[in-house]
């Protein structure tokens, strides 16, 4: 698989021979026009939510958009969450509730994602390297078995899980949610990891085995460090899917293990909820992953480059 070369970006489709300068400039103009338009489409809802959390009722109704020019920002939305500068040191039940939900979301999504990356890396490596035979099943069948779990819609598993979890005393508990999330993201992680391991030359491990390392030794000391981009990509995809997961969380959790999306959804449902506090809540819900996305974005492409060409 071609490695992603950030130093020399691949751009062979552009740059034509014998093209007039005027047309070249026009093409550039169109390209940047589209890029900026789409960037605006991507960013405006985020910008809107962020600024609305600082608006008061008249600003919302008059459709003010630019802070300091149109309207004077106010901590209103954040005050209602107990997160504004003047309320942050006071006790606030809303903030306590919010912090609990965010902690639940963190534990459930991180726990599920890390478990999935651990299980998925092992399985992905095994499937990429060793010829298995479980009865009539070969590697492709086993791989297909795992990846085909992806098509299971949550509604199919929801009810049986509700019954199963009731019997196992896992209802409304974080370990239960972690297990569901692991199951949910495992197919994607295995898919990414298997292709990642296939792109690593097998000669490295042959050399390691000759040098006396065991299979597991060469896996941990030689292969895993090389597969780090794939692991990060798998982890991010898993985090995105489980942090934002709503369906299972809404059905399987109650007062104690409820996660952030469920809290946001329950606020949306109630009529007459103030825009500023909803905006603040939404901002707080999307901020952690936006930071993760901005910081680790390049790993996603790097990790998927080997996978997507399949």
């Amino acid at each position: 698989m071609a490695t992603y070369a950030s130093a020399a970006p691949a751009a062979p489709v552009r740059e034509y021979v014998g093209e007039s300068r005027g047309r070249h400039i026009a093409t550039r103009f169109v390209i940047y026009g589209i890029l900026i338009l789409w960037a605006f489409i991507c960013l405006f809802p985020i910008y809107w939510t962020l600024t609305t959390s600082f608006k008061s009722a008249p600003d919302v109704m008059q459709g003010h958009i630019v802070p300091f020019v149109d309207f004077t920002p106010d901590w209103k939305g954040w005050r209602s969450l107990g997160l504004s500068p003047d309320t942050i040191f006071e006790t606030s039940t809303v903030r306590a509730e919010f912090m609990k939900r965010i902690a639940n979301s963190l534990i459930a999504s991180l726990g599920g994602s890390l478990l999935a990356v651990a299980l998925g890396s092992l399985a992905g490596y095994g499937l990429a390297r060793f010829p298995y035979r479980f009865g009539p099943l070969r590697n492709n069948d086993i791989g297909f078995f795992f990846i085909s779990q992806l098509i299971l819609p949550p509604v199919v598993l929801a009810m049986p899980f509700l019954v199963l979890y009731k019997e196992l005393a896992f209802l409304d508990s974080l370990p239960g949610l972690i297990l569901v999330y692991t199951l949910m993201v495992l197919p994607i992680v295995i898919w990414v990891m298997r292709d990642q391991f296939m792109s690593i030359p097998v000669e490295l491990e042959e050399a390691a085995l000759v040098d006396g390392l065991s299979i597991w030794g060469s896996f941990i000391r030689i292969v895993l460090p090389l597969a780090l981009p794939g692991m990060v990509a798998g982890l991010i995809l898993a985090l995105v899917l489980s942090w934002n997961e709503y369906f299972f969380a809404a059905l399987l959790t109650g007062a104690s293990a409820k996660t952030l999306p469920v809290m946001v959804a329950s606020q949306t449902g109630s009529q007459g909820i103030s825009w500023w506090s909803m905006a603040a809540l939404s901002t707080a819900a999307i901020l952690p992953l936006m930071i993760v996305g901005v910081l680790l974005e390049r790993y996603i492409i790097k990790g998927l480059t080997s996978g997507a060409v399949k």
């Binding site: 992603y4 499937l127 060793f130 598993l157 509700l162 934002n244 974005e297 997507a308």
Partner: protein, 380 residues
């Protein structure tokens, strides 16, 4: 989604000559036997207690759950002792197998059983076997077929999303300034929770009175903009929101595919004086077919699970116009506690999905092979 043969599995990593003592082998068999015995004993004990045959037992089935994973660990460790290196290799894939089997096989089988029962959580009669009654009422349920028809519309929309995603991926792959900035920005919507997006866009930006989109629509001459009252407009609005969240995923998959294209062929096309239009249709697009199929299939799979946005913005309305199968079943559970019927709907949906995806896989693999053979071969 791949069914190709795996290049790494030609068994080049064989470790020769690690002597296996018969003592280790016996120990391994003992470990497996002990684990199996323990799991069977706990299971039997709990079944007897649950059916009322014996007096004492655990209050929940949690110990059986622990015993299962203990048994799995014993089997993995024991077969390493018994089979040596082949066991070590199997130990890579076995944990995931045990995990998936425990959490998928049981719920699916149990779900099939629930689907054949009349079970309403709010009724006092409890669970009663009723055979195919649920299937019959499913067949006569116009709301369910309405939701299925909506899924067809939503799935067709995937191809428009694909065209946009491909265009964006091409732009990001071109020689542009601030490439990293645009890549991060274009990816951001995928990071956002659909529930938050439901409020941010559905309930705020597209709000009829104060939302900026409504203001824009009024400015453009639409007297009373309403995005969730007319069936088709509502459907489109939901589709726009879902596309907004998931186009980045397709874009990333396609961008990764573009970056893995062989550089030499594209260089050769440039030297031969092919226009960019020709280069795209003759070379880039055929070479990108496998990546495109993967991206579209993944996207369709996610699309078939669409629920969060519908549940939180329209609850399926107006008149079921935006309903998806998942959101419909969700309301069946949530509002009517109709567990048996809801599960029957879900299982039926699953079967439809499996048939659809299998056919799509068969069809596309064959088609991709023929198309790329016919189109890419002369130019390559």
């Amino acid at each position: 989604m791949t069914t190709s043969t795996l290049p790494g599995t030609d068994d080049r990593l064989r470790h020769y000559g690690d002597g296996m003592s018969s003592g280790r082998r016996t120990l391994g068999k003992l470990v497996i036997a002990a684990g199996t015995l323990l799991f069977a004993a706990v299971l039997l004990f709990q079944i007897l207690f649950a059916t009322g045959t014996i007096e004492s037992g655990f209050s929940t089935w949690r110990p059986v759950f622990y015993a299962y994973f203990l048994w799995a660990a014993a089997v993995i460790y024991g077969q390493i002792l018994v089979r040596g290196e082949r066991g070590q290799r199997a130990a890579f894939v076995l944990p995931a197998v045990f995990f998936t089997v425990a959490l998928v096989i049981f719920p699916t089988v149990f779900g099939l059983y629930i689907a054949l029962t009349d079970w309403n959580l709010s009724s006092s009669t409890g669970r009663q076997f009723n055979g195919v009654d649920n299937i019959v009422s499913l067949w006569n349920d116009p709301f369910y077929w309405n939701a299925l028809r909506n899924m067809v519309y939503y799935v067709i929309a995937v191809f428009f999303e694909y065209a946009i995603a491909f265009g964006l991926a091409l732009l990001l792959n071109a020689e542009i300034r601030a490439r990293r900035f645009f890549r991060v920005v274009f990816l951001l919507p995928f990071m956002l929770s659909p529930v938050a997006v439901s409020w941010m866009i559905g309930k705020s930006i597209m709000e009829n009175r104060f939302g900026p989109v409504a203001r824009l629509a009024r400015f453009l001459g639409w007297e009373n903009p309403a995005f969730f009252s007319d069936p088709w407009i509502a459907r489109l609005s939901i589709e726009f929101m879902d596309a907004w969240v998931f186009i980045p995923l397709m874009m990333i998959l396609l961008l990764a595919g573009l970056q893995a294209l062989p550089r030499e062929i594209l260089e050769a096309a440039k030297v031969d004086g092919a226009s960019s239009w020709q280069t795209f249709w003759r070379i880039v697009f055929p070479l990108m077919l496998p990546a495109s199929v993967t991206a579209i299939l993944i996207r369709i799979i996610f699309k078939l699970k669409l629920a969060d946005i519908v549940i939180n913005v329209t609850s399926g309305g107006p008149g079921g116009a935006t309903d998806t199968v998942s959101s419909f079943i969700y309301r069946e559970y949530r509002d009517r506690s109709n567990v048996g019927y809801g599960t029957a709907l879900a299982e039926f949906y699953l079967i439809m999905i499996i048939i659809f995806i299998t056919l799509a896989l068969l069809f596309t693999t064959r088609w991709v092979r023929r198309y790329s053979a016919a189109r890419a071969a002369p130019s390559a």
